[in-house]
């Protein structure tokens, strides 16, 4: 017998008596508290095991599967998904990436016992600027003394353990590339000189209990060090590659759920004597959001598979997806809110979750490496990309994946770019005017990137240079779509190409609705049959 999925365990979100349904989620959100019943479901299902590699006794076999398994949680409540555990994964990834076998075993043991681990990078004064993080780990004969404060750290008030990003270099020394290290504190309650700081309230993602950790000369043993001294930045940037893909991937679930909700609303709401779904504009908005969902998922799918199949380039795809996908999801949710009208502004009722999702996606977008830091990660790579070897079809399919090899992830991605290299052949295969437009865009991007002066490749880059990373991300998303198995359907291909053109600002609104109407028909059929709208549909439990 197979284990029940989270979709089954979390149940029909439209059932008002369901303790993990929309009504219960909204009530907890209103109270600013995590959804206790949801946390109980996740604990009962041992969601932490999803974060532990199979080799360490867990169920983490590959990243796309992880994303897929977590989708039911994020359809209902991003705060639950992120607050309960995703940040534990982010902490553990550092250990999987750079920890000793013993550290890995210990952390696996903690996770499998259901413990939470906080991931403590953020300092209020420095945000995404890791290199200037000030919390200091002063070396002593026995280990380190920690001084400083981390803030906006999920579960800092209740986590058993934490991974801390700390400056280990002499504070008087000029900044270099190896100033910071990661420390694993596996029992925070046993650390003298550590204060758990009060919770910081947020607008949204109430399931995340963000707080701070204050260290005042706290002594930690030398064995707490994860990886070599000075490798904190490198480890962080490598483990971010996994967590960025996961965050982008689960973020699409918010859109999937909202798309169903707004479809359900529109099918039942009578305006001007007919259901709202009879209005061409409403159908177009729904179909557009459907295309947005598929673009986002095709892209995150390829990015997540690249971690396994072309890890040397995966960092770029992870950064591009983390930058582009939450924003695309936010835009699509905004369109859906237009269909919903005033109900998107209410905190009660069957569709109030749409407004909540719209608010929460912004938090998901900010949290853990905001958009510009992802763009800045991409920018220096753009001039030197090598497009000789297109990715193999496996990058886009569903074949079994080799285990994730954390040592193969690179701090700086390699120049060959298999995903972008796969774009031109796919364009040839598709043909037509839309594809021709993309081909021109690819050539223009290559030319502009090649001409990028050195001074325009770093933090002082102007907006025109930074805009190249956005165009690059859209081209990657296009390649992921056109190489996906779905590209065999010309109507689907037209729909996503029109949509990418529109969303990227390259094309105006389409004059015809052929592709959108075809997409709307698929959407209706899925809704009627209880299948999700995902690129890889699955059965969903929800009142139609």
């Amino acid at each position: 017998m197979t284990a029940p999925t989270l979709e089954t365990l979390l149940g029909d979100p439209y059932d008002e008596t369901n303790p993990t349904g929309h009504a219960a989620v909204l009530a907890a959100d209103d109270a600013g508290e995590p959804l206790a019943a949801g946390e109980a479901v996740l604990d009962g299902w041992s969601v932490n095991a999803e974060y532990v590699p199979v080799a360490l006794g867990g169920r983490l076999a590959d990243v796309p599967t992880l994303i897929r398994r977590l989708r039911p949680v994020f359809r209902r409540d991003a705060g639950l998904g992120l607050g309960h555990g995703l940040t534990t994964l982010m902490a553990a990834l550092n250990v999987w990436t750079a920890g000793t076998p013993e550290q890995c075993r210990r952390v696996a043991g903690l996770l499998l016992a259901g413990e939470r681990i906080s991931v403590a990078y953020h300092e209020l004064a420095h945000g995404n600027d890791l290199a200037r993080n000030a919390l200091r780990a002063e070396p002593t004969s026995a280990g380190f003394l920690l001084h400083g404060t981390k803030q906006v750290i999920n579960n800092a008030g209740r986590a058993r353990a934490a991974v801390i990003f700390a400056r280990t270099a002499d504070p008087a020394a000029p900044p270099g590339g190896r100033d910071h290290s990661l420390l694993l504190l596996d029992d925070l309650d046993a650390v003298a000189g550590l204060t758990r700081l009060p919770r910081l309230r947020t607008s949204g993602l109430a399931g995340c209990r963000l707080a701070g950790l204050g260290f005042d000369g706290a002594a930690v043993p030398a064995g707490a060090l994860v990886g070599e001294p000075g490798t904190g930045g490198s480890t962080a940037l490598r483990s971010f590659q996994v967590s960025r893909c996961v965050t982008a991937g689960v973020g699409t679930a918010l859109l999937e759920a909202a798309l169903f909700g707004v479809y359900r609303f529109a099918a039942g709401r009578i305006l001007y004597g007919r259901p709202v779904t009879a209005l061409p504009h409403a159908r177009y908005l729904l179909a557009g959001a459907f295309a947005d969902l598929h673009i986002a998922q095709a892209f995150t799918h390829a990015a997540a598979r690249s971690l396994h199949l072309c890890p040397a380039a995966a960092g770029r795809y992870a950064a591009a997806a983390k930058f582009l996908v939450p924003r695309l999801v936010e835009d699509a949710l905004g369109d859906l809110a237009v269909v919903l009208g005033a109900r998107s502004y209410l905190r009660t009722g069957p569709y109030a979750f749409v407004g909540k999702h719209l608010r929460d996606i912004a938090g998901l977008s900010i949290g853990h490496a905001g958009g510009v830091s992802c763009q800045l990660a991409l920018l220096p790579d753009l001039p030197g990309l090598v497009l000789d070897e297109p990715a193999a079809p496996e990058l886009f399919g569903t074949s079994p994946l080799p285990p994730l090899d954390f040592t193969a992830l690179r701090m700086r991605a390699s120049r060959p770019d298999p995903l972008l290299a796969a774009l031109a052949p796919a364009l040839d295969a598709v043909g037509g005017e839309l594809a021709a437009g993309v081909r021109v865009e690819l050539a223009e991007l290559r030319a502009a990137a090649g001409a990028l002066p050195v001074a325009e490749r770093g933090v002082t880059a102007g907006h025109r240079s930074l805009a190249l990373t956005e165009r690059y991300a859209w081209l990657l998303a296009t390649s992921a779509c056109l190489n996906s198995p779905h590209a065999g359907d010309p109507l689907w291909t037209d729909a996503v190409l029109e949509r990418i053109g529109l969303r990227s600002g390259r094309l105006g609104e389409p004059r015809t609705t052929t592709a959108a109407e075809a997409a709307f028909a698929v959407l209706t059929d899925r809704a009627e049959r209880g299948r999700s709208f995902d690129l890889d549909p699955e059965p969903v439990v929800r009142t139609r």
Partner: protein, 589 residues
Amino acid sequence: MSSHPGFRHPPLLAAEELRRRLTPAVSAAERDAADVAEEFPAAEVAVLDDYGLARHYVPAEYGGLLRDYESAAALMRGVAGHDLTVAIAHGKTYLGSVCTWVAGTAEQAHRVAALVSAGVPVSWGLTEREHGSDLVAGELTATADGNTFRLDGEKYLINNATRGGLATVLARTAPEGGPRGFDVFLVERSRLAEGTYTPLPKVATIGIRGADISGFTLRAAQVDTTDRIGAPGTGLETVLRALQLTRTLCSALSLGAGDHGLAEAVAFAGERELYGRRLAALPAAARTLTDCYADHLLNEALATVAARAIHTMTGELAALSVAVKYLVPVRTEALLARLRRLLGARAWLRDVRGGVIAQGTGRFQKIERDHRIVSLFDGNTVVNLNSLVSQFATLARGHRAVREPPPGLAVAADLAAPLPAVNYGALRLVPTRGIGLLHNLAPASAQLAELAGADPLLGPVAAAVRRLTERTETLLAEIGTQPIVPPDVPPYAFALARRLAAAVAAAAAVALWLGSHRYFVDGTDEPGSAAPLWRHGRWLLAVLDRVLGQESTVEDEVLDETHAVLGTVLAGQVAAGAMPSLLSLGSVA
């Protein structure tokens, strides 16, 4: 450079003064606690009542202080820039009373004026739970019975419904409904029998949590024939004409939110250290700020010209008002989203501002949350675009021939020109002569070309206006060919309507610069003065570039210089505590 203070725009000065009055009323922690607890912002509403703000909702002819809508809107902007919840809580009374100004008798107007001036909150009962913006489907009925009407039914999502003493209610008077099947009634609660007016529970909203958003049920509520506004069967028409005013004025709420959001973002960027530099000094971040400022200035230009046009181009308001109500809130939402991304976690934390951790200091999240209501109420985005689309055929006809711009346009665009009283009888459901601002583009383009002859620095602006003019001509030709059978509006028509609204906004900016630059260009250069924005058409160039997008004619170098000027003025205005505005002359006392 000259340093005399020059022209000061009275509406803006009054708005800034009102905003300053509100500042000490409540602390950030109190504001936050009230927001969480969904408490009505009574303390600040009391400040507004002391100021007599409600009298600015009442036309002067009925004893109020409302002489020009630009000034009234500016006051509302000042309140909104302080706290949008407060602005919406108080300003709703204007929306509730406007049907009377538009279509009521003098007697009715005096009666409503007395109530409003006495501080009685007024609500506007239009929407119903199952019908939303589909007003023709409204089910609340008014049944004639001798000299009285009996009202039965429910109105839902109504601001002021619980606190209000007067409700202006749209009711179905003909069982079969239809365009002539509704009337508007004044429902004064103190005149009703006990139990006939029952407020609905407060509705839990994402933002403006303190506002009185609820609804009411009428059961055998008896009103007099003299409570009916206008001739029998004219209710929907009255509402549509009244909406032309309110939709134009709603832009003040968005401008206030933009003022507030920009101030928060500029302050943050000015003190935030990132990558060893101040955030404001990172070129891409600086450009984000000035892009948002340019969008805000475009909104301000459109809103200002449109508010003045209530007086001088009244017959065109059907088109102008929906263009304003669509464009200004949506562009403000987009600029707030961009600022949010710039602010990062600060935009999301409720208790952190800059380096300070204290309850309620994280204001940005509230600005964005509160502001989302603006694109939803009083006709949402779809309703406004739909309305523009429904005018396509008439507008296209109005633009088939070249016309002189209407004489009222020059007055609307000249900020020092006195505004005539509004003739509400001139409100029309469709402008038959097209949109004056668009008729004005060709002569404006010629005028700018001439000015560019004398000041070569105006060359890029003249070229941008020429491009705008060409593009708009193409657009106007295209909207005439749309096959539209409401409500089956093809999605592409919505795209055209968005472009039309953008063209109107850009045309308003062109007209405003041409009509008023002479007052500003010699103004002071002290920090915060908008004078440098007006010289050489700088702000106009920046906003035209934003509207034209990929079709912009502006060269990168010129544009970068322009944005540098915008950045300096914006920083100066925020530092001076002035509104980020085209109309500020700096040096706020």
